[in-house]
């Protein structure tokens, strides 16, 4: 069976959000022609070990609700974990009571966290790629030179260069997370201090490599040829990207917006997180990409939050005490989430200070701040909390806490005599799932679908189809 490589390439191009386009140049052209439209941006910030209710629900709000509620945030105080979002309260939407549905987020939901698909039992969920993830789906709609920028942090392990963990263009087509800031930096902004145009040299090199692979193709047929076609498509798409970057380099645009290269290279979890956020902010500001996904633990439980705690992430999730910090695990995890929130707020600040059209970049951006494992480490996915920041050009309803029907339950160890961690919520089985929230995001970026990755019986459930009307500005 022979597949025309051109057809395949076209499929890839469509798949990767039209990576062959040149948004920057198109923008210039569009401005001239008067067809310019403000770009939208979506950023996913993900962390492990769960996003518990006490870290995300304003104090004093009861989670025992029979009917869906929308509570304005003005009068409420944000909890410690997300306090850094205080300046953006009017652009904030907190959502509770969504279910994981088919996703099993126990110890991290793996690829299921962003796809809402069941991708196997046991550890399989970290490796099996069942279908398209929401960040990729959005990237298809909001193309950029880098269709999607996936930045990961392998906690406490500075050796991991790239890892497949969160995102995919489709079944069996995962997208790698770049885990080293200095390497991500190089591919985005070129080598440090270089006056020459690295990108053009790299493009020539890539074309040379394409030539070598094409030579191999002659003796192969069928699947083997497809393997090489896939390789060639990747080479060609990289080559196009380098061409675009080369043009931006010539125009001086890259040099102006590149962040400072982290020096020395970050090693700890904390420093690496900071560096990745810096890179993300600059890439967004310069228009290299419109979709960013940052995973602080690669959608699983691994390593340790070095720089903050030397107890393993897993043990912290089990409430083990960090003796150095003299804090129980759940309080350390609060510090971790707060650090993520601080970095997110800093990113928002940068976008806010970058003018765009009549406002700032922030006006056209949405940050999805979430855990890869619902509300806790060993989650049954009865409540998957989300914090949305920004309204994406007025498409998302903010300044509200949305509560879907839930039953309240006490959090914490049963041995403990007092209510230390407050209460948690269990969404009813009729509640919408994370798929519906993701579909809402697709509606907001202009790709309205009937459902996102719902299958079988789920598709029949009317509450799960369409967007969440509490969040979407119609």
């Amino acid at each position: 069976m022979h597949i025309n490589r051109r057809t395949l390439l076209q499929q890839f191009a469509a798949g990767a959000g039209g990576m062959l386009l040149t948004p920057y140049l198109q923008k210039l052209e569009a401005r001239e022609k008067g067809t310019y439209r403000t770009p939208k941006r979506v950023v996913f910030v993900m962390f492990g070990n769960g996003f518990p209710e006490f870290g995300s629900v304003p104090k004093g709000v009861s989670l025992e609700v029979q009917e869906t509620q929308q509570i304005p945030l003005d009068q409420h105080e944000l909890p410690f974990d997300i306090e850094p979002f205080k300046p953006y309260k009017d652009r904030l939407a907190i959502v509770h009571g969504l279910r994981g549905g088919r996703v099993m987020p126990y110890h991290g939901g793996g690829f299921g966290s962003l796809s809402g698909l069941f991708n196997g039992a046991g550890t399989e969920r970290f490796t099996k790629v069942a279908g398209e993830s929401i960040d990729a789906a959005i990237a298809r709609k909001l193309p950029g030179i880098f269709p999607i920028l996936n930045l990961g942090i392998d906690p406490g392990s500075a050796q991991t260069q790239a890892h497949y963990c969160s995102s995919a263009w489709g079944a069996g087509r995962p997208i790698a997370s770049q885990c080293r800031p200095e390497l991500a930096y190089q591919s985005l902004f070129g080598s440090i201090g270089a006056t020459k145009n690295d990108f053009a040299s790299r493009r020539n090199l890539l074309d040379l490599m394409s030539g070598d692979i094409k030579k191999l193709e002659a003796n192969l047929t069928g699947l083997e040829r497809e393997q090489l076609d896939h390789h060639l498509a990747a080479l060609e798409s990289l080559s196009k990207r380098e061409t675009n970057l080369s043009q931006m380099h010539e125009s001086g645009k890259l040099a102006k917006s590149a962040p400072k290269m982290p020096s020395p290279f970050p090693i700890t979890w904390k420093d690496t997180v900071n560096a990745q956020f810096d890179i993300a902010a600059s890439a967004l500001a310069v228009g290299l990409t419109n979709v960013v996904t940052i995973t602080s633990e690669l959608c699983a439980i691994r390593g340790k939050y070095s720089g903050i705690s030397d107890v393993t992430t897993h043990q912290l999730g089990h409430d083990d005490v960090d003796k150095q910090l003299d804090l129980p695990g759940w309080k350390v995890l609060s510090l971790i989430r707060r650090h993520m929130a601080e970095q997110t707020a800093a990113l928002l600040e940068k976008l806010k200070s970058t003018p765009e059209d009549s406002g700032t970049m922030l006006d056209n951006t949405l940050v999805v701040f979430m855990s890869d494992s619902a509300e806790t480490q060993h989650s049954g996915a009865d409540n998957w909390p989300f914090v949305l920041l920004g309204n994406l050009g007025g498409h998302i309803r903010t300044n509200q806490l949305v509560l879907y029907p839930m039953r309240e339950h006490t959090l914490g160890d049963r041995v403990t005599k007092e209510l230390v961690k407050g209460v948690g919520g269990k969404g009813l089985s009729s509640n919408p799932t994370i798929n519906t929230l993701y579909n809402t995001l697709l509606h907001a970026v202009g790709d309205p679908r009937r459902h996102f990755n719902l299958i079988g019986a789920d598709k029949e459930n009317p509450t799960l189809a369409g967007p969440l009307k509490e969040l979407l500005v119609a």
Binding site: Q11, T123, E124, S201, M209, D212, L228, H231, T312, H318
Partner: protein, 781 residues
Amino acid sequence: MHRFPSNSMRCQYSRLLAKLILAFALVACCSQALVAEVSPTTAPNGNGKVAVESPQLRSFLDTHCVRCHNVDKKKGKVILEQWPDAELWQRVFAAVEKGEMPPEDAKQPPAVERAIAVRWMREVLKSKGVTLDESATVASNRGNSVDHNALFGAGVGKSVASASSTRARLWRLTPKAYENFLDEKIQQFQLDLPLCSQKPKEYGFGMPHLPQGQMKAPWSFTPQWDFSNYAQTLRVGESEIEVQMRNAKAMADAMLLQFQGKLRGGKSSRKTGERIAQLDALMKAGKQAAPGQVKSAVKETFGKVLGRDPDANELARYSTVIEKELDANGPEDAARQLLIAVLCTPRLVYRVETAGDGRGMLAPLDVARAIAFTLTDREPDAPLLQAAKDNKLATVEQVREQVVRILGDKTIEKPRLLQFFREYFGHYAAKEVFKDQQTLQRLLPSFGGKIVLNSDPSFSAEFFVNDTDQLIRWVMAEDKNVLRELLTSNKIFVLAYNPDFPSRQTDRRAKFVDVPADRPMDVKLNAYERHAPNLYEIADYDPKSFTLIGWTPHRTYEMPADHRMGILTHPSWLFAMSSNTDNHPIHRGKWIREKLLGQRIPDVPITVDAKLPDEPHNTLRTRMQVTREEYCWKCHKQMDPLGLPFEQFNHVGVFRTTEDVVDKEKTNDKKNLGKDGKPMGTKYTTAPLDTTGVLDGTDDPKLDGEVKDPFDLIRRLAASQRVEQVFVRHVFRFFMGRNETVEDGPVLVAAHRAYRDNGGSLRALLTSLLTSDSFLCRNKE
């Protein structure tokens, strides 16, 4: 050809058989040649142009589907009288391909007809812009699709016209092979870069400190249920290419630095590595370099780095790019670009096996590389290369000579052999299974004391994996009844040597130097050393020998024969086949059904949303009753009864005679309630243990029947010829890098005979496989 069991399972069993035969037929039909014979005009030609209704497919729907899926009956709300849309086609395709439709009780389409219909559906879907993962059909989890009797039954080889051979193909290099190449170059040019093979020097906070600037292969084969390195299923994408380019750049930088006699820090280097004279000349000449000079540089760089001359096409393409770079950025960048380009060679990504046009034996050098990579995971050694040069790899006898030499030479490392057993048994996944502290405290008798688990949440499972690995090494060295020994031996190696450990550990051990106990790695070791004797129940162990001082690499003990029997009772395997909080009878049963009995369990239906009931007061066996619902049981009956005998052990691998369950009464007793009215701790009681199971539908009369306990189960499996043959199938798959087809039947029969005739020798088995047509011949189509 098949024997039916005489009990009430007959009906279900015959359905299972029907499916197996069907599965076999499907695979058979996927071979282009066979289909062409059956139906040369009706099969789609793969050009993807079937946007309009195809009459063949229409008639398939009319014959087999429309009786229920019509406007009146509308079964499952599906109507197939009209030409379906893309979404419906996807569902039809999935159902027909998996054999779910037509339903079991309906008349089934002949296998060939179904296979062709499925192919048409693929074309329709493609024409509608639906991307299908074609590689899934050759994925390693489809290996058992071929009916066992079609490979080993009577008359094998007669029914199939074409001889066994493998398609011209590509292998992706393993990370190890990739890194071996880089290391060779680092040594050849004496570069100021750490070797990829260099071990981490120290541990800090439980984490190895890798040498600065150490390069890594751009891809890794993550552990998975089935074999991870299949030739056809791997893809290189953008991220791999980027890492590959980064590595090449790091190498090129180091080479230029070395040519200038400098080290990375700016100091001068005292090492003298190989030089590339023409590259020096090019850099000296600068922008004025003549085109001929660039060409000579390209030529010599190819020779020094890749060990061969560029062909005319390469010479022209490379020279053009280098000239461009020379012009734009000067001589040093041009030299760097050339080095990077050559180091980005496809040879570092793929190993290509072709046979020109038509079917033929691989060229001598390709045979040499195939043997070398298959067994040693590196480029051929000197004798093998010499044999290729002297054209002494042209006959089966000549190949056999080399294979026997490598297999027999203890000094040649053969990492792929152990890797096969790791991936086959899957015990090395034990490292991936978390157990929390409370669970460990409850289940391990001597847990507590000074153990610091913070440094290792997965409870030192890696040490138990090493012990199992060591048993495998020992059995391979003995090379007698290999499979039976692995399945039944109660021998255990304690604290086995692991060459992957950081050098500090092994060095100190080898020198019998005491290791201070304040290092996390050593704490883990201590934890292991305290538990291993208890878990293995080694009565005769000497506690003193468990100190690091008394360590020797080969410490064998006999585990009690009535408590342990082979790898399936090793803590490592039990651990790997367990969940965070329980045993995993489903995985254990699936493993036996697939890897020992050679049968295929269907994929988990995407609609399955099953969880065990939250009834901690019941035994796992009782809680698993939920799988007995009709919808679940049709698959679970193939797994659960094979996995449940292993309830003999708890989920950290301790032998037990009763099962601990939650004592609801005591837990909720007033005495146990805190001020908030909730229990302050969980109280446990014991429930009687049931270790029975059922072996059935195995197609081997000696195997079928009730099973008393895991030992009864293992004993019967280990004695079965069928199990041995399935093992041979797996060896074939791993070393050939693909699934077996009906054409491979004679090769498998011969390999099994070689294994048997030589007293269960793995070496004989491998020699037979590596001298077979399947291994040595390639065809283009």
